[in-house]
Every structure is written in C-alpha cells, then in structure tokens.
C-alpha cells in the first residue's frame, strides 16, 4: 500500500509508546504497588518489594525494559471511524513493533508455530495481536499497548460451566487457578475475569478486564460486589509478592461480561504480573497525542 507522508510520524509515535511501555509502569499500577508495599512486615516480602522498586528505579535511570520478558506485543485499538489513517493503522502497528524492538530494545518473542523459529523482530503470523473496536463518528483513536510476559500468560485458562454451577463455579475456578499457577506468575497479580456464553468471548473479555485502571469497578452493582469480594478473598490467602507469602495476593480483580446463552456460563481468566506494562495513548486526527496512562510521559 502507498503510505501517506505522515505515515512515518505515526509509526514513530506508536514505536515510542511501545518502547516506553516496556520501561515504565502506568500510574495506577505504581500507586497500587506502593500502597501494598507499606502493608508488608515479613523479611522475605520486604526484600522482594525492595528489589521491585530498585529495579523500577534502575530501569528508569538506565532507560531499559524493567522486565526482560517484554511479551508478545498486543494492541487494543478503539478506532474512530473517521480517523484519517484508518487504512494505514495495521501496517503502522506492525512497523512500530519492528522499530520498537530495536529502539528499546525488546526481547525477540515471536516464535512461528510449526516452523518453531523465532522471527527475531517480534512480528509474525497475526502478531502483533491487534484487537479492533470501531468508534462511530469520531476522528481520533485510542491505543492500549499491552506487553504481557510468558510468566503471567501461563495461568491463562477458560472453561464453559453448566449454568447450575452458577457464579459460585466462576469463583471456584478462579481461586483454584490463582492458588496453583498464579503463585509462579509474579504476584501481586491483576486478575482479569471474563464471564460470557462461550469460551472465546470469556477469554477475550478476561484480557480486556486487565486494561481497566486499577480501582475501577464493574458497571453492574452485582459485578462490582463480586470483584470486591474476590479481591478481599484472594488477599486473605496471603500469597505475597513472588508467591513467598505476605500481607496480600493481588492488585485487583476485574470482571468484564457479555450476555450468555441460557445453557452455558463460560469463564475466562487472564492474569497480569506486578510489572503490568500497559499504556493508553490517545491520538488525534492531526497526530498530536496525549499519554493517558503515564502522567508526564514524553515520547
């Protein structure tokens, strides 16, 4: 495709945001970690939190990715239908990944299925993964960048439950997975739960739940109550930072839902590690921008 003159500007902006995301945690995550740190009393929990904050400081000063696993890059795009570069956005995101991989530098994390070869530039079949939502009658775009490492992707799971297992079944499913696989996934975790009628919808919503700012609540009062109770319950298990026991277990529990089939309740689970590297970039039609997730960020 012939690209417009402004195309390179767009690529540069998206690449800078991607590289920046690998080096700095968003404001809400940082605030939550600071709050959780103050509640720890045991030597092991303190030593882990000390290491985490020293690491973040060093990453900032040395301008390096704070965790070596910079993930298979995912973008969640809320695309205004009148955004002038709508036709070029997919190419721009793929090119941005290649640029960011060298710029940051990011780890090479795209391994082709069957061939089992690492592509060496984080671009591969259907990767970066891009999720599109169309926003009618707008000419701007919002891009969530999410770098999820392998460690916090391992606990991911989804299952279709019988309706009579109910919401109780959802809670059991989540707690079983967090107390087994979750402890190895760099807690305190952000727990994303999707509830829907089929497995792929639940799984996708569980990932989108991780994009919500920590402290935000489900739009339904019952959903919000369930989030709060699960959060409190998981914290009472006291998994602690790194799974080494401590005062808490999670940064939060977020649930997102879609209407279900009468005969199914599907549940999906995604977890984000403490180094929850997500960002939200708001791009206007003239390619000016604001970083909504990191106050004062300069790209």
């Amino acid at each position: 495709m012939e690209h417009s003159e402004k195309y390179q500007d767009l690529v540069r902006l998206l690449a800078s945001m991607t590289a920046y995301t690998s080096k700095h945690l968003p404001d809400d995550v940082l605030a939550k970690l600071k709050e959780l740190r103050t509640q720890e009393t045991t030597p092991l929990a303190k030593v882990v939190y000390d290491s985490m904050f020293t690491d973040l400081d060093m990453a900032n000063k040395l301008d390096r990715p704070c965790c070596q696993d910079t993930g298979v890059i995912q973008y969640f795009v809320q695309m205004g239908s009148h955004f002038p570069y709508v036709d070029e956005m997919e190419d721009a995101l793929r090119d941005a990944v290649k640029v960011a991989t060298k710029m940051a530098p990011l780890r090479h994390n795209a391994v082709e299925i069957f061939d089992e070869k690492n592509t060496g530039n984080n671009v591969g079949t259907r990767i970066p993964w891009i999720d599109w939502e169309v926003v009618p009658q707008r000419d701007d775009v919002r891009v969530y960048t999410y770098l999820a490492g392998g460690g916090c992707s391992l606990p991911g799971t989804a299952k279709v439950l019988m309706p009579l297992e109910g919401y109780e079944g959802v809670v059991k499913f989540v707690f079983d997975q967090i107390t087994s696989y979750g402890i190895n996934a760099c807690p305190p975790l952000l727990v994303g739960v999707g509830i829907a009628g089929s497995v792929e919808v639940a799984a996708k919503l569980s990932k989108k739940a991780l994009l919500r700012p920590i402290g935000s609540r489900n739009s339904n009062p019952r959903g919000a109550m369930m989030e709060q109770r699960m959060e409190k319950g998981l914290n009472e298990i006291q998994i602690g930072p790194g799974g080494l026991t401590g005062a808490n277990s999670v940064m939060g529990v977020h649930i997102e839902q879609a209407a279900r089939h009468p005969a199914t309740i599907a549940v999906g689970l995604s977890t984000g590690c403490w180094a929850h590297r997500r960002s939200l970039l708001h791009i206007f039609a003239d390619l000016s921008y604001e970083v909504l997730s990191h106050k004062g960020a300069e790209l």
Partner: protein
C-alpha cells in the same frame, strides 16, 4: 552478613542452607531454558558449556551486540523465567551436568526436589521481573552458545558478582518452600470461597 556462594560450588557449601534462606552468587551463571533442557535430555546433544559446580539461570535475557565488537554482547535486562516449565527434565539435567545452583522464578516439583537431594544442588528464586537489578550484577557476558535457538533460548555464559537476592526454594534436604506455601494457600482457600459463594446466588 551476606552469604555468598562462589563457583565452583562444593556440596559442603550447600549443606547448611535451608528453604527461605537468602544467598548471593559470584562466579559463573549460565542461562538455560526449555530448549536447552530438551536438547540435552531428549535429543541427547552434548552441552556446549560445562556446568559442573556452576549455576544455571532459568532466564531469557535481552542482550545487545556491542557495535564495535561483533560477536560480543552486553546484557540489557535479564530476569528469571518460570522454573516450573523445566520440571519435566530437571532431575536428569542436574544428574547429567553436575550443576549446583538453579536460579529461577516460582516453585518446582518433586522431580527437582529428588534431583537436588540426590545430587546435592539447590533451587533458588530471584525476585521475578527485576531484570535490570539482575543485569547490574553481571560483570561480563563471556560468550554465547546455541544462538540458533534465538535470543531468549540460547546459552549465555555470564560472570556475575554477588548476584541476588536469591531465596532458597528447594534445599538439599528435601525441603520445598513453594509446595509448603501452596499447602497453606489451599488450606485457607476452601472456607474463603465458601463464604464468597453465600453472596452470589444471582440465578433467577
């Protein structure tokens, strides 16, 4: 006072260590993940690095080739990866290599516990995600082997100084910190889930 293990590590250096202890490592730390384990144990290919008395790091780093020195690398970011993935082959891997310290993240299972007890080795965890902190403990990346596996899976031979904190999660006496913790978590879980479920009777 810091307890520092220096390679080559002797069996006697590990005997007094117990799960939950914090140690540091000086000397040789070599990365090896899924593919390195399966090449040695499943494909029976000889390892290009002698691991006897040394430490292996379950880690896939970000390395950068030094512009003026092709083939030489500097470490940018190198934190631990999930050790449980290597559980399948770890006992045989310890036996075949004579390695003394495993550095990784999260727990490992009975296979590794058996290997650590029988061949006198320990599994330790470095705080997950703290990859720049870890990189700062690396003095030099001496060489790389099996780079055909890609940057994360290759064997990076690093010389480190007081690399840590390393929390002992499996000792030479059969102790397993994460299994112990998991039992506690599971014990607490039941009543907590039951209590939450009393509030979720949403079905009409």
């Amino acid at each position: 006072m810091k307890k520092i293990l220096t390679t080559p590590i002797q069996d006697a250096d590990l005997e007094s260590l117990n799960i939950g202890d914090i140690v540091y490592l000086s000397g040789y730390l070599i990365t090896g993940r899924d593919d390195v384990h399966q090449r040695l144990i499943k494909q029976h290919r000889p390892l290009p690095v002698d691991l006897a008395g040394k430490a292996i790091f379950h880690a896939g780093p970000i390395m950068r080739e030094i512009a003026a020195q092709p083939g030489r690398y500097e470490v940018i970011s190198v934190g631990p990866t999930t050790s449980m993935r290597m559980e399948k082959y770890e006992r045989e891997f310890i036996a075949a290599t004579g390695l003394k310290v495993i550095v990784g993240k999260g727990g490992m299972g009975p296979n590794t516990v058996e290997g650590c007890k029988k061949y006198k080795a320990i599994h330790t965890v470095f705080p997950g995600g703290c990859a720049v902190l870890a990189a700062q403990c690396v003095e030099e990346v001496e060489r790389v082997e099996w780079l055909d596996l890609g940057m994360p899976e290759a064997m990076w031979v690093m010389r480190v100084k007081e690399f840590g904190p390393l929390i002992v999660s499996i000792d030479t006496h059969g102790g397993n910190l994460f299994e112990q913790n998991k039992a506690i978590f599971n014990q607490k879980k039941g009543p907590i889930v039951d209590e939450i479920c009393t509030h979720l009777d949403f079905l009409d």
